[in-house]
């Protein structure tokens, strides 16, 4: 009977209160998202007035040329930006972790500055810069703008991962006669791959979701989906906006699921997965 006492204590009023609070907070977190998903199936002409179930807004959204173009731009920009960000970020991360010199610290401060500065400040500095160098190509502007921010994120993720790895593994490979390139390819790369993949997905989804940088640097006609939705929202609530947002939400969730699965497979702990996904290192 003595073992029952601590068990009972864990169920006292305080825990009950915490539990209830958690449930309420989860409801708070998910209600708005569910509302958009549900209302995207609203048959009625006005988005906010429920008028029965129907998928007609999906048809409207997918036929809208503005949405089609914006979605295509978004996907192209997101992919190109992910590649650039991963290449630059991985190189920077490796350099910082393995060949640190007197420039490492100032460089790291710079990386943090980029991430910490309010996005709107990043955005106007890119805009000014692009105008100065006379770069008018919207696609290139978007890719550069997004990839600067994202390569900073990738740098930190790769750096954190490499610092967690034992450098003696690479040394062992070298002792066994592997060339530096071979040691990198067969030892370092497979070990840091989860971090690189996570960084790539993070960069991809950031780009797909970004409003602020995109709306500053893109030119009319070459905008991304969020910028399109954002400017359309200001003129009125439309069902096709909810529909296309639901489609992107579904895509993001699939990507997120894949990433969590990949990270878990590579033996990352729950806390590690959370750290990687939120970019908190």
């Amino acid at each position: 009977m003595t073992t029952a006492a601590p068990l009972r204590r864990r169920w006292d009023w305080f825990n009950g209160l915490l539990r209830t609070y958690a449930v309420l907070l989860y409801i708070f977190l998910f209600t708005p998202i569910l509302v958009v998903v549900i209302y995207s199936f609203n048959k009625g002409r006005f988005l906010v007035i429920w008028d029965g179930f129907g998928t007609n807004w999906y048809g409207v959204a997918l036929e809208n040329e503005g949405i089609q173009n914006a979605l295509a731009t978004s996907l192209r920009v997101a992919a190109a930006n992910a590649v650039v960000a991963v290449v630059l970020g991985t190189m920077a991360g490796i350099a910082l972790a393995r060949r640190s010199g007197k420039w490492s610290r100032p460089f790291l401060v710079l990386v943090f500055l980029i991430l910490v500065a309010p996005e709107i400040v990043d955005a106007i500095s890119y805009l000014i810069f692009f105008v100065r160098i006379n770069l008018g190509w919207s696609f290139a502007r978007l890719v550069i703008g997004h990839s600067i921010f994202n390569s900073a994120v990738v740098t930190l993720i790769v750096l954190a991962r490499l610092q967690g790895l034992d450098e003696s593994l690479e040394e062992a490979a070298a002792d066994l006669g592997a060339s530096p390139w071979r040691a990198f390819r067969q030892i370092t790369l497979p070990l840091m791959l989860p971090a690189v993949l996570a960084g790539a997905l993070l960069a991809f989804t950031f780009s797909l979701d970004d409003v602020i940088i995109s709306s500053f640097v893109s030119t009319s006609g070459g905008t991304t989906l969020p910028v399109y939705v954002f400017s359309a929202l200001r003129t009125g609530m439309r069902g096709d906006l909810a529909a296309i947002s639901t489609v992107t939400l579904a895509a993001t969730l699939v990507a997120l699921g894949v990433m969590v699965f990949a990270l878990r497979r590579s033996g990352e702990s729950v806390e590690g997965v959370v750290g990687t996904i939120t970019g908190a290192g």
């Binding site: 825990n15 915490l18 539990r19 609070y21 958690a22 907070l25 977190l29 998910f30 708005p32 998202i33 509302v35 958009v36 906010v48 007035i49 630059l88 710079l110 990386v111 500055l113 980029i114 910490v116 500065a117 309010p118 996005e119 709107i120 400040v121 990043d122 106007i124 500095s125 890119y126 000014i128 810069f129 105008v131 100065r132 600067i148 989804t205 797909l208 979701d209 409003v211 602020i212 500053f216 969020p226 939705v229 954002f230 929202l233 200001r234 609530m237 906006l241 947002s245 639901t246 939400l249 993001t252 969730l253 997120l256 969590v260 729950v270 806390e271 959370v274 750290g275 939120t278 908190a280």
Partner: protein
């Protein structure tokens, strides 16, 4: 070098631009720099803009503290009251909203809070409201929107800090006769302080520069400084004034962080001194 070219140089350019002026519409360039002055700063501190900046700081500070108050219990629950298995699932459920499009999360509230939307109808039907809900396009809506949007960003660092804490420390405190509140204030809180500070910074900085949420939910009444900067750059094409506003915004953010940081340090030293007195008088 990459970052230097793309970030530091533009940042300096912003500061320089903020002393320039708006060229006549006929000019090819979007900024005039041959005549530098503090005019833009004088304009920034004019009455109308001033009010927006004050409102921005108020919304950002309130929003950040609300995030802490609302998020802490959940982070505490996740870190101390869940089994390893449930913890992963429940954390995942915080990550999903965080990864959901910012825009979707924001405009969801436009549906939810609309005068003829679901919340309004429900409240009227149970008699809590006798007229349609009128929250949209006010500062209240912006405040709610930012709380909702930034909450996950607060929960993560809090969770990580609480999770790293050794549970035996709390038990030891209990065994030594401290009640719940004393344990919380004297053991838990000091140990998770780094997480709290990280969360506050992580939420406050982007929130103060916020541009999307007020634009979607705030209408004309809920304008924030980020919106001012954006309208100068994208609509009024007055880059000089926009740059000055951006500089003021950055300085304000740094000032608020400095004030709160100093306040935190003072409180800490006072608490320590009190403790020492307690020990000495015993």
């Amino acid at each position: 070098m990459w970052y230097l070219a793309f970030f530091v140089v533009p940042l300096i350019v912003i500061v320089v631009y903020s002393f320039g002026y708006k060229p006549p519409a006929t000019a090819a360039s979007s900024i005039g720099l041959d005549r530098l002055s503090f005019d833009n700063y004088t304009n920034t501190f004019s009455d109308t803009f001033n009010r927006t900046f004050i409102a921005t700081i108020r919304i950002a500070v309130t929003g950040t503290l609300l995030c802490l108050l609302v998020g802490f219990p959940l982070a505490y629950f996740l870190a101390t009251r869940t089994s390893a298995r449930w913890r992963g699932v429940l954390l995942g459920l915080v990550i999903v909203p965080f990864w959901t499009s910012f825009l979707l999360r924001t405009f969801a509230w436009r549906i939810l809070l609309a005068a003829n939307g679901p919340a309004s109808e429900a409240l009227q039907s149970i008699g809590l409201l006798d007229a349609p809900l009128r929250v949209l396009d006010t500062r209240g809506a912006v405040q709610l929107g930012v709380l909702y949007n930034y909450l996950p960003l607060m929960i993560f660092p809090l969770f990580v800090a609480l999770d790293r804490m050794d549970p035996s420390l709390r038990e030891a405190s209990k065994d030594l006769g401290a009640n719940r509140i004393a344990t919380f204030i004297q053991v838990t809180l000091p140990l998770v302080m780094p997480g709290v500070v990280a969360g506050l910074l992580l939420v406050f900085i982007p929130l103060a520069g916020e541009y999307v949420t007020p634009a979607v939910l705030g209408g004309a009444k809920g304008l924030m400084a980020g919106g001012l900067v954006a309208s100068q750059f994208l609509a009024a094409l007055n880059w000089a004034l926009g740059s000055a506003m951006a500089v003021v915004l950055i300085l304000l953010i740094l000032a608020v962080i400095a004030v709160f940081g100093a306040a935190g340090l003072i409180v800490r030293t006072m608490v320590r001194r009190n403790r020492r007195v307690e020990v000495a008088t015993r």
